[in-house]
Every structure is written in structure tokens, then in C-alpha cells.
Amino acid sequence: MIKPLYGLMAEFDNPTALVAAARAAREKGYRKLDAYTPFPIEELTDALDLHHNKLPLIVLLGGIIGGICGYMLQYYVTVIYFPINIAGRPLHSWPSYIIITFETTILFAALSAVLGLLALCGLPMPYHPTFNVPRFVLASRNRFFLCIQSRDPLFDRARTVEFLETLEPREVSEVAP
């Protein structure tokens, strides 16, 4: 049995060609596409309409939780668990809690930024169909790839190849699943 393709991939020389191709594919109606580039390209984010992600919200929540945990930890320890009179200060001496609260806020926010990044990207993912394309190793060097996935409703092996060829790529390859 032949497994269905993951998609079709076109290879470009420069970012301008790739962004133009991505726009053309969006205009044609393709939605399940992704591009692969050796560095972030802002215009591509526009072209593929990828501007919204949940990461800022995750980081905000992480920071808030971190701040609350840091403060509550100090409150619990100094007021409830291990109350100790130091120079007659009140047990709940909040000004001295500020620094550790700040540090835990940053720590939790940064942890959620990194873990959130990995989670939203679905990483770590050691295997991905795109790695089956031999020339794809150049995606981390100097080539720019556009991939139209087979789960796109408009995807048709012959017609999509034909469409990609009109974008004047260096090469169009099939991506094995």
C-alpha cells in the first residue's frame, strides 16, 4: 500500500521569492502551508498570517503565578511556619519580601516562556516528514522552502505540482510521510 504524501515542497533561492510564493499560494486558496527558512522573516509571518500566538498570555500567567508563589512562600515561612522575632519587626514584613517575589516572578515567567515555546512548537520532535527531502538540510543554511500539505482541501498531486512550478522554484519535491 502506498502511503499518502505529507505534501509537496518547493525550494527557493532567496527570501523575496519565498514570500512572493507564499502570498501566491494563499491567494490561490491553500491554507495548510508552512515555510522553512534559515532565519526569521517578518514578511513571511504576515504572508502566512501567523501573527497571533498564545505565548505572551502563557508568560503573563507564569509571571503572576511565580510572583504569588514567591510572596506566599515567604509569608507562610515567616508568619506561620517559622515565626521569629528579628529586631522587633512585624512578622509580615513585606518590604523585605519584594526582592524574592521579583525573582520568582522572573523565574516562573522565563520558565513558561521557554516551556511555552517548546509546547507551542510541538518540540522536541526528532522526526518530521520534511526531513525526508534530501535537500531539506539546506533549510538551515541558505535555501527557502514552501510546503503545501496534503491535508489541504485544495491539494491535488498533479495540480499542486503544476501550481508550484509556476512560482519558478529551483526544485519541487514530494515529501514522504
Binding site: N14, P15, V19, A22, D34, A35, Y36, T37, P38, F39, P40, I41, E43, L44, T45, L48, L50, H51, N53, L55, V59, G63, L73, Q74, V77, T78, F82, I86, R89, S93, S96, Y97, I99, I100, F102, E103, T104, I106, L107, A109, A110, L111, A113, V114, G116, L117, L118, C121, L123, P124, M125, P126, Y127, H128, F131, V137, A139, S140, R141, N142
Partner: protein
């Protein structure tokens, strides 16, 4: 949008003539293919030898206790805390370059941020060693953290020393994560470039399957901006909290409000000195003058000059405040520093930190890598002396003349200090050998070809 001729020519962050391919190959070849230069073996070997001295000194310390150092009442902080403050200050430049300059959109940072961040990590590792070794029973260092224990005791959250534990460990963790996130795309490049099966496997695991998807890049860019935004207040806070170790106490010479900004400026000062001291030999040996250009050296020297002037201002203010404040102990402290047993150290630090760097006003000096290297070393020595004078001279002669005593560093003090320089060199050159020392993907964005040309529609 019309693409007019030379609408905006960017300033030269890297030399002309590079392409995506050559940039990638040049930086990756340091790790992957090129033969390791003698310079690497010499530096790594020197680091390894000094690291052995460190292990010897620490082994003896574990066996005999902190008495092997020159710590005697009243100077109980001595070299250990001097080295701690010095090392952690050096780390600051890396975070400044990677976070603050990213937010300020200073693109010249792209080719020096990676190794500066590595420098941060290793400097913090060296720094963190000292307070732990200084504990007396270093194997109980985990007592510093609040955890449920059978003794029923907890750290005192009103103490700046406990704040320091949180500040430094958060700083180390966040720096390491920021560094790793920056490395991911470059690890993927190494994975794709190497011909060695083991290396491909190792870099592949570390790269976490990064494939440069546009979807990922957009989240990635958000993540780096957010991390930079978080690291910026963090880096300014770390040395502030370190300075609280001093300012919260009432020792003359420590108990002042200007210490936090002064410490932060001094940290960035010594950090950029270390960046220059590392960048100048590295770019020479590995032929990276096209990527770490004279502009980078020039800018770093200017940052050094600016922060050096802030530090100079702080010295002047310190003296002025001691006179104008009318506190007899403060005035005596300044007088002791200038004329007392530590006067040699004091005047050396003034020469190293204030007088010598004035040469950086001249473009001729800033464009001479050899001179810059020398001035960076001078600043590093000066900043070490500064921390030494602040800590030791204040403790040696405080309120009661009957309790005064002069600090004498022992050979184990010196070996431990020099040993951490060894640890730093060892880790740093290991990094140079195994990971790309310049951020490949960020340098690619600097190339003219990286700009998307908009067609007029």
C-alpha cells in the same frame, strides 16, 4: 513600495561579500571541519591546569575549612566575596548584549551575543562557587533554600544574603535558558552540516528537531523578545541585590544608597572588558574579522568608556559624601583607603579604572585591537581591586581601632581565585570547540540578501 536606489544603507555590522552559505560555513567550520588551532590547545590546556589547582585548593578547603584562607576577625569576607562580586559583574555584559541591546534593536550585537552569553554563564558558574565555598560547610549549601526539613528551621527572608541566593540562582537559570533558546536553530544547522554520525545524533537531540518552520519562527521571535524583556530587569537587579549584601549592613563604606547603580555600572564595565579580552584573540585566531568587525570593538570600547565614567563619578561621589555627610566613620574610612594599609590597592584601582581608560576617548586607541586588549585587561584588574578595596578595607578598619586587623591573603586564596579563572577558560574553550561561537541565524539576518524586496503592485 518603491525600492529606490540606496534608500537606506545599513552601517557595516559585518564585512561585505558574505552570503547565507559562506556565513554558515565559516562559523560552523570552527566546530565541524577545520583543524583545531594551537591557540585552542594552549588556552584550553592552561585552563585545565589551573582547574587542577582549583580542585587541589578546594580539596584542601573541604578537608581543613576556611581557615586555610586568610580570613581572620574582623575580615571574614576577604577574597571569596571579592571574587564572587567580580565574577558575577563580568557576567553582566553578556546579558546586556543579548537582552538590552536586542530590545534596543542594536543589530551589531548579533555577532557577539552568543559568546558573550556563554561568558555570562561561565562567569556566573565561577561566581556561584565562592559563596558556597565560603560557607564553611559547603556540602550543606542546600540549607540556603527553603525546603521542608526535620530541623524545623527556615532561611530568614529578611536577610540580603538570602535574597542573593534567589537573585543569583534565578540569574543563572534564566541566562542558561535564554542561551539555549538562542542556540536551538544553530544546533539544527550543525546537525544538518555535520558528516559525523555521533555529532549528528548529539546535535540533533540538542536541537530538539528544530526545522526552521515559519510557524515556529514567529513563536520563537515572540519568545526571544519576552525573554529579553524579562532578562533586562533581571540583569539590573542582580548586581543591585549583590550590592544589598553591603548596603544593608552599617559598615562604613558599605552603607550608602549609591552602591546599587554603582555596582551595576561597574559590572557592565568589567563585563565589556572581558568581552573585548575574549573577542580580540578569538577573531584573530579564527579569522573572524569579517564578522566581529572593528565596529564591534569600537562600540564595546565606547560602552566601557561610558560605564567607566559612571564608576569614576561614583568614586568622586563616595569621597564627597564622606566629607559632606559629616559622619566621622565614613570620613575615616575614605582617609584609611587613601593613605592607610590598602593605599596601594586604592590608588592602583583609581589608575586602572579612571585614568587608564581615558585613552579610549581617542579613535586611534579604539581602532587598535592590541591596545584595546591591554586596556581591557587593565580594567579587569582595576575592577577586581575595586571589589577588594570595598570589601577588605571597610572590614579591616571599622568602628573600633582595638579590633582592627589587616587581611593577608594566603596561597590558597590565590590558588582558589586563579583556579576559577582556569575553570572559566576550560568551560569557555570547550564551548568554542563544541558550539558555534557566533549566532549563525542572527548573522544571516544582517546580510543584504535577507531583506525581502517588496514589488510594486
Amino acid at each position: 513600495m518603491a525600492n529606490g536606489p540606496n534608500v537606506h544603507l545599513p552601517k557595516k555590522d559585518i564585512a561585505p561579500g558574505y552570503t547565507f552559505g559562506t556565513v554558515t560555513d565559516q562559523i560552523a567550520s570552527v566546530v565541524l571541519t577545520r583543524r583545531t588551532p594551537i591557540f585552542w590547545f594552549v588556552s584550553f590546556g592552561a585552563g585545565l591546569v589551573l582547574l587542577m589547582f582549583f580542585l587541589l585548593a578546594v580539596g584542601l578547603l573541604f578537608a581543613k575549612g576556611v581557615g586555610i584562607w586568610g580570613l581572620r576577625t574582623p575580615v571574614m569576607w576577604g577574597f571569596a566575596i571579592t571574587n564572587f562580586v567580580w565574577w558575577i559583574g563580568i557576567g553582566h555584559a553578556g546579558t546586556l548584549i543579548s537582552a538590552i541591546l536586542l530590545l534596543l534593536n542594536q543589530q551589531w550585537r548579533n555577532s557577539i551575543n552568543r559568546f558573550a552569553e556563554a561568558m555570562t554563564l561561565f562567569a556566573v558558574a565561577c561566581a556561584g562557587m565562592f559563596p558556597i565555598l565560603h560557607l564553611g560547610r559547603p556540602w550543606l549549601a542546600y540549607w540556603l533554600f527553603p525546603y521542608p526539613n526535620t530541623m524545623g528551621v527556615q532561611p530568614n527572608f529578611r536577610s540580603p544574603l538570602v535574597w542573593d541566593v534567589f537573585a543569583v540562582s534565578t540569574y543563572a537559570t534564566v541566562s542558561a535558558m535564554f542561551w539555549f533558546v538562542g542556540l536551538m536553530p544553530d544546533l539544527a544547522t550543525l546537525r544538518d552540516r555535520t558528516h559525523n554520525r555521533f555529532a549528528r545524533f548529539a546535535y540533533g537531540i540538542a536541537a530538539m528537531g528544530w526545522r526552521g518552520s515559519a510557524r515556529h519562527w514567529s513563536i520563537y521571535e515572540t519568545a526571544s523578545l519576552l525573554l529579553a524583556g524579562l532578562a533586562t530587569p533581571l540583569v539590573l537587579s542582580v548586581h543591585t541585590v549583590v550590592s544589598f549584601d553591603f548596603t544593608i549592613a552599617i559598615v562604613p563604606g558599605w552603607h550608602t544608597t549609591f552602591l546599587p547603580p554603582y555596582f551595576v555600572a561597574g559590572a557592565i564595565y568589567s563585563g565589556f572588558a572581558m568581552v573585548l579580552a575574549l573577542a580580540i584573540p578569538l577573531r584573530k585566531v579564527y579569522g573572524l574579522e569579517g564578522l566581529i568587525t572593528d565596529r564591534h570593538l569600537d562600540n564595546s570600547a565606547k560602552v566601557m568608556l561610558a560605564t567607566g565614567l559612571i564608576v569614576a563619578y561614583a568614586y568622586i561621589l563616595e569621597t564627597f559624601a564622606a566629607w559632606y555627610g559629616g559622619n566621622a566613620y565614613e570620613a575615616a574610612m575614605v582617609w584609611h583607603r587613601m593613605t592607610g594599609p590598602y593605599r596601594v590597592a586604592y590608588w592602583s584601582l583609581i589608575s586602572c579604572n579612571i585614568l587608564a581608560p581615558q585613552a579610549l576617548w581617542f579613535k586611534k586607541v579604539r581602532s587598535q585591537p592590541a591596545l584595546l586588549f591591554i586596556s581591557a585587561i587593565v580594567v579587569l584588574v582595576g575592577m577586581w581591586l575595586e571589589r577588594y578595596v570595598i570589601i577588605v578595607s571597610s572590614l579591616a578598619q571599622d568602628f573600633l581601632p582595638s579590633s582592627w586587623s589587616i587581611f593577608q591573603a594566603t596561597r590558597w586564596d590565590w590558588l582558589t581565585y586563579v583556579g576559577t579563572i582556569g575553570l572559566f577558560l576550560f568551560l569557555f574553550f570547550l564551548f568554542i570547540r563544541l558550539l558555534p561561537m557566533i549566532s549563525i541565524f542572527e548573522v544571516r539576518t544582517l546580510l543584504p540578501a535577507a531583506k525581502v524586496e517588496e514589488e510594486e503592485s
